[in-house]
Symmetry: C2
């Protein structure tokens, strides 16, 4: 009885939270300039109301009772997740939530100004306060400052710790740094000059066709335009966004494929379990594995372009005339040293993440002071990425995450890359001729495989367990390294002419 | 103190209700086919939560205390409106609200089927239940069946009664019926054959320009496409919709101008008072007066078209070549006998409303049985409109209102027409050369006048008081009749050739 009541209440929260999500989606897609203040008030009022509902002692009683019962594995997953959410809601005081929201808003605006003015000193006190808030939050769970970073990692990926990530990332760094050097030392250089004057309307048509062909269900979702692409909503109503640049069509296309990957995951979660652990994504890293797999392993593959290249040429005949298939494919897989994470290719991207992870860890442990952060960033960038930012706007001020208190979030991008590569090879093993399907525009077998191995599992497994269950191997950087080498080394190997 | 607390709470409800509104807007503008069920659950969960908040006894205590205080007129307006909403929320049980929502949904679907199948008998029991629900609702306020219709009228227009409407509509009918005959007996016949193949993109551009020029603030609102045009949101974020037909461009254009009128009213309500009676529209009729005034008195005037005709010809040169200004203007003001309300012109429209009002009144008084409704409808249509519907789909089944329990709503359309005409002549009197402004594309002085006389007043006055305050005259059909005669009779007077 308690179980049914709990599920019913969780579904009610899900509907209310989905309404709150829609306010956020609309804010980024539709909202007029002067309506922002009113939207902020709406979101705050609704969030506060949902929070008050979610701490009702009745829920605690149901959980206490259920935790004494013998439950099926599925029920256990639901109860564990509900307990996690309930304890968060109860332990973190409303006063703190409101104060954090206010200080995050202040820090966000301070960050925008600081980045515009290339003035880290102006931002430093705000960043310091964000770290203090992050520690204060962990303290509500009786965690000390040394445990605070793990607490924030766990928020994104249940069960993950900085120690485990450290081991994984050290191995990754050891392999990627020389690989990048090898690629960039090559005499083979991609030419991106073809990407000029791509009609936005035609990009839109092409990209909608790609998204639909990959399996996104437009009967339960849509795709719109936003400044920063994102995926919101859930499987019952999935909202993707992308953006268009006439002179950077690959940005639009791969952003859309990336968000489609997120959307396919949401649409693959079991609808009947939405709102419970059984219908919730396993965590940020697993989510990112889905977006990355479709964007990179699939979207940058030869077999993918076997099918799409003729259609791309049909849409943009003038721009692509005189460009060979080989030149186009190399441009799609261009690698370069870029100080900016979001403009980076999939090889160097991981180095950006390792850099941030190491700095976050040092900030939380107290080994690194805020004042010393810009220099530490630049030194690390020079060492790991091979490029020293010319100023802080191109360095420590480039990302919004820390300004909004999102600590322990960056690692999930590279953890997701590792899982994506691991899933890719497992799928290749288990689906004979999968890439031949791609060459004919058929992605069904891969999607169905992911549905079974990942999507339908909901939150039954954490990242590490899911990697093992789905691929038969512990999570490691091996598959990612293998993939990067197999894809990029032949491409950058000078051809005998 | 109580007053400040009450206002603060009302604003919170306003934000929550605005969130609920957005769910509704998104449902009609964006929602994918298979996401409807999830949206219904979101809206129901949020509506229920807002309802539970709005019946908190603390609000009742504040109101009781404030009603003993001496208040300013403005405070009195806020308290009166809050009392009205609070009593509704408290007196109407949640069980009834949920049951009504369910039965309205059933009745809506039954109506869709019945209209498609031209089968009133299948719909009759659902309609009967809607009337019973309407009576049941009135009974929560100790009103008997005879008072129930007034209760529903009052929901749309505070203070208005069927008796007052009856007097106004009898006078209106006596004048409009012969006027329609006079117009339709004319040998002057509009030619609508020019309206073919109007590019949707160009319609959109033209219509956005019109909307902006009339004064709609796109920094606090937007215009989208929906199957049935509507205006939602509020002055902080006003959402208009229209629709496009290549072969019926006037439908798109006048729908947009109509909704712009609603939007200008919302944007003219004092922002700082949103959520209280001082920032709420005076009622449905006053709202309709604003949409009708811009659509008809302004949008169908010669002075309006003096300015827009050259721009319209520029957008659609092929379609309008060979069409004289006089022919275009006559087409814009075409009058015809049409059994369908929503396809009717502004002259015959009022007769549709009178017909519905008289039938609603008889249904509520018990003089008319549901079974006899189709015949009564057709007889009345023949008598008043001069056209007998060929079937019930073209007759009693044409409108959705009754299926959704919207009784006492139809009259506001014609009450709005009366007020619109009365405001029009008052503005013409008080703003010398107003129509000359229109000829140059300047609508500012009329908008400012309406801002002062209507928009800024919020809910300080009911319909009857507002008419008196704004125009100096009691509400009557005189101005509307004068307007219809002045506009249509010269147009339909055969010219000496």
């Amino acid at each position: 009885m308690s179980y049914q009541k709990l599920v019913c209440e969780l579904k009610r929260f899900h509907h209310l939270n989905s309404a709150l999500d829609l306010l956020g989606w609309d804010e980024q897609v539709n909202l007029s300039r002067k309506s922002a203040e009113s939207r902020a008030a709406q979101s705050a009022a609704l969030a506060d109301l949902i929070h008050r509902e979610s701490i009702h002692p009745q829920i605690g009683s149901w959980l206490n009772a259920l935790e004494q019962d013998s439950l099926t594995a599925a029920q256990q997953c639901v109860v564990t997740e509900a307990r996690r959410d309930y304890d968060r809601a109860v332990n973190i005081p409303s006063e703190f939530v409101a104060r954090r929201a206010k200080q995050q808003s202040q820090a966000y605006h301070a960050w925008v100004d600081a980045r515009n003015n290339d003035d880290f000193t102006a931002f430093a006190p705000f960043l310091k306060r964000q770290i203090e808030l992050a520690r204060e939050e962990a303290a509500f769970f009786d965690l000390n400052d040394l445990q605070a970073y793990d607490y924030h990692i766990d928020k994104n990926d249940p069960g993950m710790t900085a120690a485990v990530i450290g081991i994984l990332f050290d191995a990754l760094k050891d392999e990627v740094v020389p690989l990048v050097k090898q690629i960039l030392d090559s005499t083979v250089k991609p030419d991106l000059s073809m990407f000029k004057g791509f009609s936005i309307t035609k990009q839109e048509t092409f990209l909608n066709r790609v998204t639909r062909t990959l399996g996104f269900d437009f009967d339960r979702g849509r795709i719109d335009v936003a400044v920063h692409p994102f995926c919101s909503g859930n499987g019952a109503d999935t909202r993707l966004t992308t953006r268009y640049f006439a002179d950077n069509p690959l940005d639009s296309l791969f952003s859309a494929i990336h968000e489609t990957g997120h959307g396919l995951y949401e649409q693959g979660l079991p609808l009947e379990h939405l709102g419970t652990g059984l219908g919730t994504a396993a965590g940020m890293s697993v989510h990112e594995s889905q977006s990355r797999l479709w964007e990179n392993q699939v979207g940058r593959s030869r077999s993918f372009w076997d099918y799409w290249e003729p259609l791309y040429r049909e849409a943009f005949p003038d721009q692509l005339s005189g460009v060979t298939s080989e030149q186009l494919y190399l441009a799609i897989n261009a690698v370069s040293r870029n100080p900016i994470r979001v403009d980076s290719d999939e090889v160097t991207y991981n180095l950006h993440i390792i850099l941030r992870f190491e700095l976050e860890k040092s900030l939380f442990s107290g080994e690194l002071n805020i004042e010393d952060l810009p220099t530490a960033w630049n030194d690390s960038a020079e060492k790991i990425l091979g490029v020293r930012p010319v100023n802080d706007s191109q360095g420590v001020l480039q990302d919004v995450h820390w300004a909004t208190g999102a600590f322990g979030y960056f690692p999930s991008y590279s953890l997701g890359n590792m899982l994506a590569a691991q899933l890719w090879y497992a799928a290749l093993d288990e689906i004979p001729g999968m890439e031949s399907d791609f060459s004919t525009g058929d992605f069904t077998r891969l999607l169905n495989w992911l549905r079974e191995k990942v999507h339908r599992q909901g939150r039954r497994y954490g990242l590490m367990e899911l990697a093992k269950e789905a691929t038969g191997h512990e999570l490691s950087c091996d598959a990612l390294i293998r993939y990067l080498k197999e894809r990029y080394l032949p491409l950058y190997r000078p051809q005998a002419s």
